[in-house]
């Protein structure tokens, strides 16, 4: 079995952002359940936070390709 260690590294690097995105949407669901009228504002904040957290995973993906060679 051949492979490349960078992909294992990317898998490990994706754990943190995965947990982070989960926490963000858990908080978003909680917030909307408590105050449905705040949905619009919370949605923007949730997606912004998700974008920031996801950036880490995306940097990991790109670096996996960069360090592959």
């Amino acid at each position: 079995m051949t492979g490349n260690i960078t992909f294992l590294g990317y898998g490990l690097a994706a754990i943190g952002p995965g947990i982070g995105v989960g926490l963000i949407f858990a908080a978003y669901l909680n917030g909307v359940a408590r105050q449905p009228e705040a949905r619009g504002m919370l949605q923007t904040i949730a997606f912004t936070g998700m974008a920031l957290t996801e950036a880490l995973a995306i940097l990991g993906l790109v670096f996996a390709f960069v360090f592959k060679g």
């Binding site: 923007t44 950036a55 995306i58 940097l59």
Partner: protein
Amino acid sequence: MSLSVVPAHVLQVGIAAAEGDGGFQAPGTADFYWPVFGGDSNWAITRPGLVMFSSVAILAWFFVTVAGKLTIVPNKRQWMAEQAYGFVRNTIARDVIGAKDFKPFIPLLFTLFTLILFNNVMGVLPFVQFPTFSRIAFPIVLTLIVYIVYHTVAIRRKHGVLPYLKSLVPSGLPGWLIPIMFVLEFLTYFFIRPLTLALRLFGNMLAGHLMLLVFILGGEYLLIHGSSLFIQFSGILGLAFGVVMTFFELLVQFLQAFIFTLLTALYISDAVAEHH
């Protein structure tokens, strides 16, 4: 280029017994380079290039013809255009930038949203099936436009480059913290933001399309070249999961268009804000 992705290895282990024509060739980044005209030269017209040209033409035709004959009772096309415009104008532009300053930026945001959404959906549209933004050049160009816009707006709003740089640091910090904060904020505004904006769109489109390739090509290989009934059945499962992931991709494609536009609006709202 022998790029291997993990699911392909799992597949390869599964079909190690089945000798095929050179084994399963895992899909990789090489699958995304697809010149149509002009051969291998740097000026070749590639498949994503063609998709981009046609998408610009189709979007322009759609919105120009809709805007040409607006009626009070909208027909189906006008309703679609109005929904998209209302979504960008109200949910993204007005809510993020604020009711005072959002008007000049609607054309930019609307163009970005429709162009990205249309090109992303091309990734699963039958017979086209190429997400344009899985080639890094396209996100870079869009990000360059956004980058220039939000810095220009900020410099004009803050009356010069130096006041703009000063406004990066929030007021009321202790003196020793100011240089550290300045470096961090400078990196964020000038490097991290454009980098992640381009890479997010690119990474999502590339990874999503690669995943579909793995499931569908791998499923097809298992189904056709599998040696036993069990392996062929798992090939069918792979193909079925490819269909499921296609619908998941639709969601991701919409979400990425939304997030790109939302972040653009967010950066612009930072630029037009009076205080940091």
